[in-house]
């Protein structure tokens, strides 16, 4: 089983992959509409907004939390420092 290199989500079935392409190492939530992988800044922005909307964190804390979560993923280990 694959795990998304960008967000850590387990990818068990084709609908977890961008455009159903199971050869990809990143998941549908980390892809742009055309199936390419989002940049770190795009993913950071999206994750921050998601945390604010669904958990109500303070904007700055949400951004720090998103950064901490992403920085532990293989795709962003070096980018996020």
């Amino acid at each position: 089983m694959k795990v998304c290199i960008s967000c850590g989500m387990p990818m068990n079935s084709p609908e977890d992959f961008p455009l159903g392409d199971v050869s990809k190492d990143y998941c549908i939530h980390c892809a742009r509409p055309d199936g390419s992988m989002q940049s770190f800044d795009e993913k950071l922005q999206g994750t921050t907004e998601f945390i604010i909307r669904t958990q109500g964190f303070d904007a700055k804390v949400a951004r720090e939390s998103a950064r901490a979560m992403l920085s532990r993923q293989p795709a962003w280990k070096s980018v996020s420092q």
Binding site: G8, P10, N12, F50, I52, T54, Q55, G56, A68
Partner: protein, 197 residues
């Protein structure tokens, strides 16, 4: 690459220590547990623990990290098999139930633990909130539940669950509080947010 027998044994000991620590942390508290308690539970010498984990903090971080990965997988599996919000809440409680003692301890101690504890807690909550949000949005759009802030819906649910977990001694001193009160909490929560009141 093939692992040597020595490496396999080393990995097995590490696994044994992680699962022993997980249990001991749940029983005694994460900060309160001593390395010697964990060595004893794993059936290894005190020195062996330090071969694998130089400090208690490294061990705590490894156990929490391990737990976060497991909860992530569990949360993802639950989403696959749940349609309604009620199903998602039920699956959420079942996921906690499997590691209730450790999860509860993590909730109680998060703020006094190394930063990884808070990060792991936030990433578990984010995965759970993702699935709750999806199901709740569908039911909100369909008029089954009242329109309300997604964050408040989620935080109300988490607040309720964590209150019962961290006060288990009051609600269910003898056994799992999820087992004793879980379905009551789901019924109450669904009743509160339902449009049909």
């Amino acid at each position: 690459m093939k692992r040597s027998i020595r490496q396999i044994q080393k990995d097995e000991t590490r696994e044994k220590l992680l699962s022993a620590a997980h249990i001991v942390f749940g029983q005694k508290g994460i900060m309160a547990a001593r390395m010697s308690d964990i060595a004893e539970a794993a059936g290894v010498s005190h020195g062996t623990v330090f071969v694998h984990f130089k400090t208690q903090e490294t061990l705590v971080a490894a156990v929490i990290d391990d737990f976060g990965i497991r909860m992530g997988q569990r949360t993802h599996d639950m989403a696959r098999n749940s349609g309604s919000l009620r199903d998602v809440l039920k699956a959420h409680l079942e996921g906690i139930r499997e590691d209730e003692a450790f999860y509860t301890q993590l909730v109680i101690e998060t703020r006094s633990l190394p930063p990884i504890a808070r990060e792991t807690m936030i990433s578990i909550q984010s995965a759970v909130s993702f699935h709750i949000n999806q199901a709740a949005q569908r039911e909100m759009d369909a008029g089954v539940i009242k329109p309300m802030s997604m964050a408040l819906l989620f935080n109300t649910w988490i607040g309720l669950v964590h209150y019962y977990l961290t006060n288990r001694d009051l609600f269910s001193p003898e056994k799992s509080v999820i087992e004793t009160c879980g379905s009551m909490l789901i019924d109450h929560f669904m009743h509160m947010i339902s449009s049909a009141n």
